[in-house]
Symmetry: D2
Subunit: 368 residues, 4 copies
C-alpha cells in the first residue's frame, strides 16, 4: 500500500493558497510534518551510513606517508586518520555515532596531553612499545590489547622504540557532536612520566577475576580497568571453544563461535557507557547466520581471513581490515581459517534509551 | 593560547606531497583528524542549533490556515507544523534531538491510527474536546494536561466537537533519526472507539499518589500513566508556593520558583525514557538566575508574561510562545506576572550516557 | 524415603567414644551438623510462628483498660499492646520479622518524641483527631490512612480531641532484633508543634500522581510521602473494580479482587525498605484461591466480613480483626460482603535477599 | 539519664487492676510495649552473640576424631562441625545470621549430593585433593581458594586422595532460619562425575578479568564464578602493597593494609546475595584502628600471627583461628608478621535493607 501523501493532495485547485502557506511556514521557521513524514518516520531504519570495507594495507600505507609529512603536536593533537563513511559525505564518521581511526606514532614521538568528554579506546592490531599515560597511570600498549581512555581522563602517548606503531582508535565523537556534549582541555605539551611498567596501576588493582579492591567499592559508570590484555582475551575465547570440544556447549551453542564482551568490573556493564566492545573467535569454517540489530558497529579483523555479508554484499576481509555495519543492516559472517574479530558498537546507547525492544511483528516484517 | 594546528604545518615545502596524501585520503574514504580536531572536539559545546522564539499567535494563525487547506489523513498522518531551528536549516528539528510542533485538529476530524518507535507527548495549551486513543485507551485532552504516547503505542485522535483544537506535540524524532532507530506502522484508517470517558483506564489504575496496582508490579521504562492532569499539576505547584509562604522553603529555596517533573510511577524516573517533561511556576517578579546544562530544551509559556535571557539575548514571551535553548546555552528567566512554563528536554539522554558529570573547572571556565 | 541420619549411626559400639567427642564439642563451643541437619535445613520452611487470629473487639477492650491504668510517657514511650504469636512464646512478635500492635491515645494525651532505626507505619482502622509529628511535619491521622515513620525519623503524637483514638502500629522490630541493627534516641518529652493541618507538608509536596518536586529528585530508600490517604486508596480500589465491571479485566483478572501496593514515589519500590504494605478489596462473594509465599504477613480487616483459610483452618473475621500468616503457610480468602483488607509483610526482605525465586519443582512439591 | 519506665509507674495503688490487665493480655496473646521497650528498642545494638575465639588446632583435632567415629552419609549429609556462639546457647550459629563450620572429608570419602535455598561457600585453609561438583561442574578445592555454592545449586564432594582434607564452610543458615526461607532437596547418594579438572567450566568462562562471555549477559544475583583461586587473590593483595611501596597509596591509604572483596562479575556486587566475603593482608606490624559496623562477621586467619581486640578484649590468633565479631562490636587488628585474614559477614543484608546509614550523631555517641 502506497500511502497517499498530503503532498499529492496539494496538486489541487487551492495550490496557490498552499504555496502561500508554505512560504509563510518558511518565513516563520516552520516545516509541515505531512510533507516530511515518510522521511522523518520511516517504517524501519534507513541509515544514510552504508556498509563499507577499508583495507588495513591501505590504511597503514597512508599512515606511514602521514608519518613522514605530518608532525604530531599541539592543536592537531594526534596523527589519526579516520574512517569516513561514504554515506555521510564530508564527515569523519564511521557510523552516525562512532569515530574510528588508525593512529600512527613514529619512533620516539610523543602525542601531547589532553582530555575530552568523549569516550575513547585503543585496540592494538600489531606492534608494541607505546605507553599511554591515562590520568597519571602509564599503560603499555601491546598486540591484542584493549586500552580505555574514558571521557575526561587526561591522556598522552609516547613511543619508546625505534619503530613506529599504529593502532585502532575508537571514540563516540559523532554521538557527542550530535548531542552537543563536547568538552576539551589541553594539558602539558609533553609527558613528564616516561616510565614503562609492564602493568599499569589500574591493572594491578583491577585485573584479578572477580576481585574488587576495598578502595574501589564505589561504582563508576566507566571501567576502572585501563587495559584488557590479549593474554586474558585469548584465554577466554580459547576456553569457550575448549568447552565446546568437550561437549559443554553452553558458551557457544555448538556453533564454533566464541565471544566475550569487555565489561566494567564495578557494575558488569559495558566498559564504556556509550561504546560496546567485544572480541569474537570463529573456528575455521564456522559461520554466524544473518542478524540485524538497532545499533551500528565497526568490526576489525584481528587475525585470519573470512567474509562479511552485509545487506547481501560479500566483503572478503583479512588481517586488520575494517567493516562498518549501519543500524538494521543484515550481517552474516564466515571464517575461512580461524577468524578473530574485534567489534565495537553503539548498542549501549540504544539499550539505555530503550530503543531496542521491538515487537516480534516488526522484527519479522523487516528481517528477510 | 592559539593552538598551532597541523593545517599550519602544511604551509611548508612538502606541500605537494601533502596535497597528494590528502587526495589519497579522499580516495580511500579517510579524513585526517588533525585538520578537523578543533571542530570535532571543541572546548565546549558549539551547537549549530540556536536559541529561538516562536510566537503562539503566529503558529496558531498558520495552523488555522493549514486547517482550511490541508486534510488530515493517511500518509501525512497528522496536521502538525514543526518548529525548524534556524541553526539547523532544512530540518524540522527544534533542537538536535527534539521535535516540537503545533498539531491542529478541526471539528470532528480524525487523525488515523499508527505507531512508531519514537516517543511522543502532547501538552495542551488551551481547549478541549479531543480524545486520543492510546493502545485502545481513550484519553481526554484538556487544557494543561500532559498526555503520553510512549514509543510503539498505537494511537489516533478524534475531535468530538464543533470547534478546532490545537496543542503542542513533542517527540524524539531527531534523536531517533540521528541514531537510526526508527520504526513505523500504519493502523486502521479510522477509529472504531469513539467513547469519551472523563478519565482513561490508565488514570483509573495509576493516577493515585503512591499507589501501585498489584497488576502493575513489573517496572516499565515508559510511564503507564497516560495522562497527567492539570488539576494535579496546578495543585502541586500551588502547594510548593504555599509551603514557601508558610516559611517551609524546602521545595523552592525561597525563590518563588516552584517546579515539578512528570515521572514514571513504576520507577520514579522520567515519564519517557528520552524526554524530560516539567512544569514551572514563577511568582510575579521572581527570577531564575543564569545557568547552563549539557542538554537542549524547548519551553512553552502556559500562562503569563515574562522574559527569557538566552546567551545574553532577551526574549519577551507571552501565552503559548515557545523558546528553544540549545545545549550549554546560558539561560535565565524573569516573570512579569505569575508565569507558568512547560519545558521538555533531552536531559535523560545525557544522564543515561553519563555526559553530564563535568569537573567544576570546566563549569567555571565556560560559565560567564 | 526416610533419610538415615548420623544420629542413628551413632547407636553403635563406638558410642562411648562418640559421647566423649560430643562432650568435647560442647567444651569447645561446637555443635555437629549431622545431628541437627534436619532441623537446620528442613525441606521447606517450618516456622515456629503460627497462623493466629486476634479479635479487634478484644484488643480494643484491653486497650481501653490500659488507657485507664497505664500512663503514656518517657521510658515506656507508647501505650501499644503487641500481638504475641503463640508459636513464639514470650516474644511480642506477630511473625519472626514483624511487630504489630494496637496503640491507644486518650483524650489530649501526648506520646513523647523519639526516633529509632526500626521502620514503622500506622494504619487507622477508625477515628481521627490525632496528629503525628514526623521530623517536624504534622500529619493528621484519619480512618483508612496509612502513615509512615521511616527508620530514624523523629516522631511523637498528640490527641487534640476529647475522645480516645486507637490504631494499628506495624514495625520491623523482630527483624531488627534478629539482625542487631537497633538504634534509639529520646527526643523532647513533649511536643512543641500542636498545629493541626489538614494535609502535611509531605503530602503537599508528594501526593500528586506521577509528579515529583524538583527539590526531591534524589531517590530515597524510604518513601517521602508521609501519608497515604483513604480517599485515594478507596478510589484506586474502586477504579479497578469499575474497570472490571466495564470489561477491562487487566487489573483484577476478572476475579473481583482489587489490590494496591503503597509505594515510594522516588523509586516505585515498597514504601518502606523492609515492610510491604497493601490494601485489598474483594467483592461480596469473591474468593482468593490458596497460595503460599516465602514471606510472613499480618492482615487486618478494615471493613466487612469474611474468612481466611490458613493451612486448612478456617478463621471467620470481621471489622478490625487481625490474622498472622507465617512463611509458606497456605492461605485463601473469602468475602461474605465487600471485604476491605489491609496487609503488611516482610516480602521486600525476601526479594532483596533473593530468597523468593525457587524452582517450580519445589513450589509444586510443597503446594497441595 | 535512666528513663522512668511504665513498669515503675505500675508500682502504685492500681496494682491489682494492672495485674488483672496483664493476665488478660496473656490470655489474649498480647504483650505490652511499655514493659519491653528498653529491650526491644535499645539505644544501640545489644547482641546476645559475643565475640569469641576458636583455635584451629582444637577444631582440627576434633574433626579428626569425628572422622574416625562418624560416617559421612545421607541424612547427616556432611561431617561439618559448627561454631556455636556462646552467647546463643544451644544454637549452632556463629552469629545471628551466619553459620561457620569445619568440614572434614577422609581419604576417598564422598559427601552425597543435595541442594538448599541457603547460600554457601567454602574457604580452604590448607590441603587439596577434594573436588566439589556444583550443578554438574567439577570444582577443585585447593589452599586459599574460595568456592561458591549459591542457594539451590546441587552439590556433592569427593576426596580423590589418601589424605583427609578439612576446610571452612560458611552459610546463611541462621538468617534463613530466622526468616523461614528454607528449602532442601536430596540428590543422588553418590557422585557419578569423578573427573578432576584443574579448572572448572565456570572458571573457564568467567575467570578472565573484566571479560564477560556473550552467553552470560543476563545478570544473576549470585556469582557465576564458582572458584576464586588463591593465585589471583594473592596477586591482588600483593599488587596493592607493591603500589604502596611505590608511593601510590590509593589502594591502602598508606596503612599497610590491603584488602579485596570477592564479587559477582555480572553486577560487581557481593559474590553471594547475603554473605560478604573478603581477604585482607596486613604487613608485619601494621594495625587496623578500631571501628564498628552494623553487621556481624567471622574472621579466619589464613596465614601469620596477630591479634584482634574486640570490645576491649585482646585475642591472640594464629593459623586457622576463627573469631566472631557481633554487630556493633568495636574491633581493631594488629599483625605480628604478615597477616592474611579471610572474613565473611552479613553486611550485604544490612545494606540491602538500609539498616547501615545512621546519622553521625549516633556513630559518635556510640563509638568510644
Amino acid at each position: 500500500m502506497r500511502p497517499v501523501s498530503a503532498r499529492d493532495a496539494a496538486a489541487e485547485p487551492q495550490d496557490l493558497q498552499l504555496t502561500e502557506l508554505y512560504k509563510e511556514f518558511d518565513a516563520l521557521g516552520l516545516i509541515p510534518l505531512w510533507t516530511e513524514r515518510e522521511d522523518l518516520m520511516p517504517q524501519s531504519p534507513q541509515p544514510a551510513a552504508v556498509p563499507h570495507h577499508w583495507r588495513w594495507a591501505d590504511l597503514y600505507a597512508t599512515a606511514v606517508k602521514a608519518g613522514e609529512l605530518v608532525p604530531v603536536g599541539r592543536g592537531g593533537e594526534r596523527r589519526a586518520i579516520s574512517l569516513a563513511n561514504p554515506g555521510l559525505p564530508g564527515l569523519p564518521h564511521a557510523t552516525p555515532t562512532l569515530w574510528a581511526a588508525i593512529q600512527y606514532l613514529g619512533p620516539h614521538e610523543v602525542a601531547p596531553v589532553h582530555r575530552h568528554a568523549q569516550n575513547a579506546f585503543r585496540f592494538v592490531l600489531e606492534g608494541e612499545g607505546v605507553w599511554t599515560i591515562v590520568d597519571g597511570d602509564a599503560v603499555a600498549m601491546r598486540r591484542g590489547d584493549l586500552l580505555l581512555t574514558p571521557g575526561w581522563a587526561w591522556h598522552g602517548h609516547h613511543n619508546t622504540t625505534d619503530r613506529p606503531m599504529a593502532w585502532l582508535d575508537g571514540l563516540d565523537i559523532p554521538l557527542s557532536s550530535a548531542l552537543n556534549t563536547e568538552f576539551f582541555e589541553f594539558g602539558p605539551d609533553t609527558l613528564k612520566d616516561r616510565s614503562t611498567p609492564e602493568r599499569s596501576q589500574a591493572e594491578r588493582l583491577w585485573a584479578h577475576p572477580g576481585l574488587r579492591p576495598l578502595s574501589g567499592l564505589a561504582d563508576t559508570p566507566k571501567s576502572p580497568l585501563a587495559a584488557y590484555r590479549w593474554e586474558h582475551t585469548d584465554a577466554a575465547l580459547a576456553g569457550q571453544l575448549e568447552l565446546e570440544d568437550e561437549g559443554h556447549e553452553g558458551a557457544t551453542a555448538g556453533t564454533g563461535h566464541a565471544a566475550i564482551r569487555f565489561s566494567n568490573p564495578t557494575t558488569g556493564a559495558d566498559a564504556l557507557p556509550t561504546i560496546r566492545t567485544e572480541m569474537h573467535r570463529l573456528r575455521a569454517g564456522a559461520t554466524v547466520p544473518a542478524t540485524r540489530e538497532v545499533a551500528s558497529s565497526v568490526w576489525q579483523v584481528f587475525e585470519g581471513d573470512g567474509a562479511f555479508v552485509v545487506n547481501g554484499e560479500r566483503l572478503d576481509v583479512t588481517h586488520g581490515d575494517l567493516v562498518t555495519v549501519p543500524s538494521w543492516a543484515e550481517v552474516s559472517l564466515e571464517a575461512t581459517g580461524q577468524l578473530d574479530l574485534f567489534r565495537f558498537s553503539d548498542a549501549p546507547v540504544m539499550e539505555k534509551l530503550h530503543f531496542t525492544t521491538l515487537p516480534a511483528s516488526v522484527a519479522e516484517r523487516t528481517t528477510r
